[in-house]
Symmetry: C2
Amino acid sequence: MTDNSKKILYKRITDLTEISVSSFDKLFEIANKREFTKGEIILRQGQICNTIIFVEKGYLRTYIDKDGKEINTDFTFEGNFTTNLKSLRSDTLSDTSIQAGEIATIYEFNKDKLLELYKVSVEIESFGRKLLEQLLIAKEEHTNLFKIYSPAERYRYLQSNKSEILKRISLSQLSSYLGIARETLSRIRKK
Amino acid sequence: MTDNSKKILYKRITDLTEISVSSFDKLFEIANKREFTKGEIILRQGQICNTIIFVEKGYLRTYIDKDGKEINTDFTFEGNFTTNLKSLRSDTLSDTSIQAGEIATIYEFNKDKLLELYKVSVEIESFGRKLLEQLLIAKEEHTNLFKIYSPAERYRYLQSNKSEILKRISLSQLSSYLGIARETLSRIRKK
DNA sequence: TTTTACCTGTGATAATCGTCACAAAATTCT
DNA sequence: AGAATTTTGTGACGATTATCACAGGTAAAA
């Protein structure tokens, strides 16, 4: 494995599950490498999502359009996966868009090809299941922020537990992700 | 299949995925049926969660204790699954408790036995993956409520899209689930 | 470098929401 | 049925937050 990109993906997967080189190679074979400049759209709201995306470099921003205003629902940094699962699973129109937040390199995995691999390799399906587990745990933690904490407390939670996100995401992008007005977040941060 | 309980579980699984009778039987063999009266604790915060729970009858309430106040993070009605995934996966102490909200009948599936079945039956692992997909989609939808909508709008969203929950969950239990003070929710509802 | 576009800070103000206190209503228990 | 417990409604008030408007700053583009 001389390809450096391949290594990043391999690391991410083996961190999650045991996988043979042959299974990994099968997975890598269906990967479609793509490059984006800042601001480019990877998935557009209203389209059907048919891929799972791995971010090798840069980060992606997932957002919903609400009355012309963009509300960020997720940020995906290098070494992580994202998609619109609802659209992917049921072939319905995606209610979110995914955009490159910086110059980004991604790998796209086609859904149908992936489902074929699930049938062929138990290891790959097992990987799929474990990835979902991890995503669900992260989502639960994020949801609970809104139930347990006030806006100011949510920001402080990120400071203590997810400082990476504060370093990379601008205040105005972060505000909708935390369900706080930009101005309020600016005032919270000043303290 | 004469057992009626068995049918409810069977229906839930076959709604999600194709499964052979023999795989289903393997799953049913490891199921541990238990009954609870209203208010009884099924999983206590601070314990390690090692089962996945299927609700056959009644409903369960999942909550976090915050400074002595209980904040509801989830409700699980009959025909659905719940657990504390973080605790289950990493053998760490659960930060949530799960309690019977009514007289309830549940099936518990031991984690280790389930992992064994995943190895034996591809169908069962596939079921596990699809269940996680569904849970993640539902969680994403719920999270977005907090980012997109105001408290009043969140309540109206439940009215239109999840009316079942309004019928079965009391206002005071619902308020923390929606991140709204009980009094405020009472006033919202009056309109 | 200069221009342009975007991002952040800040004041003023209004709207919303949370908290406290208590009464009324509904439900459960005996 | 009657008592006890829990749930819900409501007023008053204060705290927090959203919104609007605009200025200053920063970064990207020409």
